[in-house]
């Protein structure tokens, strides 16, 4: 195994040309565990934590540009005002030690169904910018994450940043697990209300191979909300939860049953919408 330590994207592209079979390494909280347990033994690793272009975040016109190297601690501390649901999701990731190391780009690259940032990014209609020596391309979250721990990332490509819109309106993240701290989600949901666009967007996590949008629930509630509040009748809010649960495609595993997950989605989506309305 070889390990490269690029400091710039250009050096990282060099390393990926030299080590074409290399695994990209961000915070290490998923990958190094797989190596510890003997599940992975890639011939080479390109460590990205020194790459300056991946650090930090900025406002750009109507968007927020989040560097792939942004840690969950940074998201939690710096973005609670701009992106409250993403900050809330970051706050539920692992322990402080994990949040200090784990990154947004790593969460996307790992593409675990339980990745906590993913349902929020789905609800935000996040665009992910991938760069390589050949140039760059921008994918929607649904195009990037293609299956359980599978992405459309090509050899030689690196996730540089995530672009999300700056929206006016409440944003919620709710997660169900066995306890409050250090828990992998059994079901989670990100809900974003866009007051100007008059839409409600709802992403679900841990209840399908990839993050899913509750499209039918979204379309239904957009028509049922009185946008001057915004407020909605209780039966419409309840119906929203049922439709969101219907969008889930959960499995039964060691963390929970499919039935429990579907019910959990209904509860958390109803609750997230209730908290977002007047």
């Amino acid at each position: 195994m070889k390990v490269a330590h690029p400091r710039t994207l250009d050096e990282a592209f060099d390393a990926l040309e030299r080590l074409p079979d290399a695994q990209l390494l961000a915070g290490g909280t998923d990958f190094v565990v797989e190596v510890n347990f003997g599940h992975r033994r890639p011939p080479a690793v390109v460590g990205l934590r020194r790459v300056g272009e991946l650090r930090g975040w900025r406002r750009e016109d109507g968007e927020l540009v989040l560097g792939a190297g942004l840690t969950f601690t940074e998201i939690e501390n710096e973005l609670a005002g701009e992106l409250p649901a993403l900050a809330a999701a970051a706050r539920t990731v692992g322990s402080p030690q994990m949040r200090n190391a784990g990154t947004l780009g790593g969460n996307l690259g790992t593409a675990s169904p339980a990745g906590d940032s993913l349902p929020v990014l789905a609800a935000l209609d996040a665009k992910v910018v991938l760069v390589s020596r050949a140039g760059e391309r921008t994918l929607g979250l649904g195009e990037l994450v293609t299956g359980v721990k599978r992405t459309a990332l090509r050899q030689g490509e690196i996730i540089r940043e995530v672009r999300v819109p700056r929206l006016r309106g409440p944003q919620q993240f709710l997660k169900v697990g066995t306890r409050n701290a250090m828990v992998i989600s059994i079901a989670c949901a990100g809900l974003v209300v866009d007051l100007d666009g008059r839409t409600v967007r709802c992403g679900l996590g841990s209840v399908a191979p990839t993050p899913v949008r509750a499209a039918e629930a979204e379309a239904f509630i957009a028509g049922a909300i009185d946008w001057d509040g915004p407020r909605a009748p209780a039966d419409a809010v309840a119906r929203f939860g049922e439709l969101a649960a219907a969008a889930a495609r959960p499995i039964t595993d060691h963390r929970g049953t499919a039935e429990y997950r579907r019910r959990a989605v209904q509860v958390i989506c109803t609750r997230a919408l209730t908290r977002s309305l007047a």
């Binding site: 195994m1 070889k2 390990v3 490269a4 330590h5 690029p6 400091r7 050096e11 060099d14 390393a15 390494l25 915070g27 290490g28 909280t29 990958f31 190094v32 565990v33 190596v35 510890n36 347990f37 033994r41 690793v45 460590g47 934590r49 020194r50 692992g94 322990s95 402080p96 030690q97 994990m98 200090n100 190391a101 701290a181 250090m182």
Partner: protein
Amino acid sequence: MSGDAGVDAQERYRLKVNGREREVDGAWIGESLLYVLRERLGLPGSKNACEQGECGSCSLMLDGVLVASCCVLAADAVGSEIRTVEGLSPEGELTDVQRAFVTQGAVQCGFCIPGMIVAMHDLLDRRPDADELALREAISGNLCRCTGYGRIFAAFHAVKEERARAST
């Protein structure tokens, strides 16, 4: 080409641990920082339990940030400042947090304590006025199965009081 060619198949690299340059030779390059510290550099203070970032017993400071060293690839820590529990105070001396753990009886089996000490120092360095809720959050990733945490909280308050007295 990169100015830093990285660590190659010779599997020899240097780590800066507690202010000293340490040579790592003959190691498999996929080893975690925790493993290298304990098994190759004679620094067993960071404890090895879960190897998956769940227990916090391997906590140390990497470039001034609290991390679980079981989740750090040692060869990716080249060029970084690593501070382990052994490096919190000069050889043979205890830090104020360590003394408080002793006087408050915050140690039972002791396995989680090095990680707990590192995490508590990190919190008090970042937030000298941290309250108990902040402490609970800060050590939420440091699992102790013996003490019930009560004496650990007592040690935290003792350190804060001692530091407050020292600064007035």
